[in-house]
Symmetry: C2
Subunit: 472 residues, 2 copies
């Protein structure tokens, strides 16, 4: 049986039986360096197939050609967990007839597994694969580390096409996705641009505002009652979040706290914490930089997890359910602690939940770290433009102007007060920002729904509306 | 979320919702040292639950108490891939009302995945687990190595109970089965008797007849045209098969053949071949001895595979589909090359296909190695008592009296003749054995079907009938 290897992406598409009206899927571990989505969609368009839904775990600005496929009717539906600002702006202008479906990383995995978001043909960009389809992200010139978000696509799609630029002898050692689920394997020249796949290094902020926030964040964790042996932690790749991790690392080493695991999209800073003994293991659904890729390849304590294992709400349990602390960002947060990470304050799509809602729901302490204002727009508002993560799942907001604790957390508030941290009401943070920037003008909302934000555990959380041109 | 940990097996059974008429499942990596099946079935019986089907990847003689549960009506159905002689004899005597369903290791995985053999509650004996159910066979006092046969149970059962005697802090490193699929975790004193789980060492035969067969087997492989770079190989744990592997190793090292993978139930001899450079990797669905357990724990080239990945006929591909050579045993083989591994010549159940039919169907060269006679009963017959593996999938029979090639393999026959190997017709081997032992008396067949042998790719291959007492 050697029938899986096919010469071109076009041939694989034809063999897959893809037809008008079906759903194709992609994962985003190659991030802004990904070539595969564009290559596949160009071939699909050339074959004259139309009316497709694209299910992508995330969409980056490198995927801008997708907007042409929308305009030409090749693509009429989009399901994604994150959409970068370039594509987001066009979606907000209304180029797609049907609303985009935004899910969380966990909910996408669960909805694919349950059949609520079925995939006809999954295209897996694989930095290494053998001719039977065993594949991995750990090795090869386009190595991206974990393939965690591609697992549900590979497990549940009716047909699975692996596209690789590093075909290795059978059997590939250290596969992430096994041949059992793969129908076709296509060798290509390049699946991505290494410079865009992972950054060489992620960098801690040097911005004084960021450093103040990071210091507060670390002290909140220190005094939360959670920083003890067995402690677990997730943070994003933003400069202030990384600075917070760095402060936290120093505190953990000083106090001799033996943490259990670091989770998430993994950066070199989390690898440093593993190597310094802050954690027993890293659980990695996506690598953010080269140091993380090198670590997942060589250190058995650094383990790949599937999107379902990371955060699936339908799983009997996911790692987020055992998470102590997560540090998250926000484009807006309102006085009920609802967080927006889908749109900017003008209502243009420029992000998505990713694992935001998943980790906030799971973690014992979900902390938002954000400056009081950005580009003269206050971060704290009366009502966020879009609810990405409900306020009930957010525990603390850290800004350079003070720390607001969700009123549901009386005990935590007292602990932080006792530690001498600058605790303020969230309304006070709003007032303070508006005192500097002025109260922002609320922009008129367009009439047409351009995206739906789905709850991680079913139903719809919010809608995003068409943004008229005058908003610009 | 800490709700998975329960104090007793009985409590887990109650929480699982197990009721009369359901199906419970077990895996057999603890082999004849397994305590879990008996412990669970005793608790089920004590709870008064009846009319259950037991789906066990294999049943060993340590599971003899199961026959009491059959007699008392607790168990009314059995699905398994292998049944040792002690239980087999009682089944052959007709203690179970419904016929046993015998599957292959691959077909069991596929039928569980497809829903054709659904499981209500799976009980996973786990040598290590954390309190959320991430578990592994690699670590702990009851370490058995691979948990390959337990994957489909864990993936598809409606409820999954992990039973462990080594509860480790969360998250277990190097899990085989993730928490996403586990409902309950029960810590117990011991899941098995280490002496019965794996043998300290598996031993090469010193029997002269076995050594002759092993030497022939190695020479058949040498001259088959398959022994070249990329060569892949599976063999069983029998003394002559291991001796064949040892001869083969010497040939590979002399000729500088760089094989690709060794497959299967893995013994220390296959580990030796890996370490000597005969293979790039071992793909391991079950460890047979301590050396294999140590290797899968510490050598990343030695990889665990699920039963589906090993041999699932419904998988888009399984490793057996890429296998070059497999050496297999037989209790009988007939002149059409049909092989019996389910019963002895008297018709008593004393085995099962396991991976026999799977590897025979997949491998380019499926070789049976068997003596001309055992206990004065010839191995070659006109018609096997039970067809376990159809003759179309068997290529060669190696005996101490010569080598018979299936007539479908003209080219192979010529190659072996050219190499000077003693090629004879299979009818000649039958005549030669009967010349020594006399023609065996065909025993009367009982009227009632006590077991069905299912094809790996659907339908029924053969039936096993009630064996009257006078057969003894």
């Amino acid at each position: 049986m050697n029938g899986k290897l096919v010469k071109t992406i076009r041939e694989a598409i034809s063999l897959s039986g893809l037809r008008d009206g079906m759903t194709v899927s992609f994962h985003h571990h190659l991030r802004n360096g990904d070539y595969v989505l564009n290559q596949v969609m160009a071939e699909i368009a050339a074959l004259g197939i139309r009316d497709l839904t694209v299910s992508a775990s995330s969409l980056f600005d490198t995927h801008q050609p997708l907007t042409d496929h929308i305009r030409s009717g090749v693509v009429t539906g989009i399901q994604t967990n994150y959409m970068a600002a370039g594509i987001g702006r066009e979606i907000s202008r209304g180029i797609l007839g049907k609303p985009v479906e935004f899910r969380t990383h966990g909910a996408r995995a669960s909805d694919i597994a349950s059949g609520q978001a079925p995939i006809d043909v999954a295209f897996i960009a694989a930095p290494s694969a053998d001719h039977m389809g065993n594949c991995s992200g750990k090795f090869g010139k386009s190595a991206c580390g974990s393939l965690g978000y591609a697992y549900p696509d590979a497990m549940y799609a009716k047909k699975v096409v692996v596209i690789t630029d590093n075909l290795v002898p059978y059997p590939l050692q250290g596969w992430s996705i096994p041949e059992t689920n793969v129908d076709y394997v296509v060798p290509v020249e390049a699946i991505g641009n290494p410079a865009g796949i992972v950054s060489g290094t992620t960098r801690i902020t040097r911005d004084p505002v960021g450093l103040v926030m990071a210091s507060y964040a670390a002290r909140v964790i220190e005094h939360s009652g959670l920083l003890k042996d067995g402690f677990s932690f997730q943070t994003g790749a933003g400069g202030a979040s990384l600075a917070a991790a760095d402060f936290l690392k120093k505190i953990m080493l000083e106090k001799g706290v033996q943490g259990s695991f670091g989770l998430g999209g993994i950066t070199g800073y989390m690898v440093d914490m593993l190597q310094a003994g802050c954690f027993q293991s890293l659980l990695d659904v996506q690598c953010f930089d080269l140091k993380a890729v090198e670590s997942i390849r060589s250190d058995p304590r650094h383990q790949e997890i599937s999107a379902l294992h990371y955060a699936g709400p339908s799983a009997r349990s996911a790692v987020v359910d055992s998470l102590d602390v997560v540090i998250l960002g926000a484009t807006e947060i309102d006085t009920a602690f609802n967080v927006n990470v889908h749109t900017d304050s003008n209502g243009y799509i420029m992000g998505g939940s990713g694992g935001h809602s998943d980790t906030a729901a799971g973690a014992k302490l979900a902390m938002i770290i954000a400056p009081l204002f950005r580009a003269r727009l206050p971060i704290v508002t009366d009502h966020v433009t879009c609810v990405s993560t409900p306020g009930r799942d957010i525990d603390v907001l850290v800004t350079q102007g003070g720390i607001a604790v969700n009123p549901k957390n009386g005990e935590l508030r007292q602990r932080l007060l006792d530690a001498g941290l600058p605790i303020v009401e969230i309304q006070e943070l709003k007032a303070r920002a508006e005192g500097i920037t002025g109260a922002p003008k609320r922009l008129p909302r367009g009439g047409r729904e351009v995206a739906r934000v789905l709850c991680r555990d079913g139903g719809q959380l919010d809608s995003i509306y068409h943004t008229p041109e005058e908003a610009e």
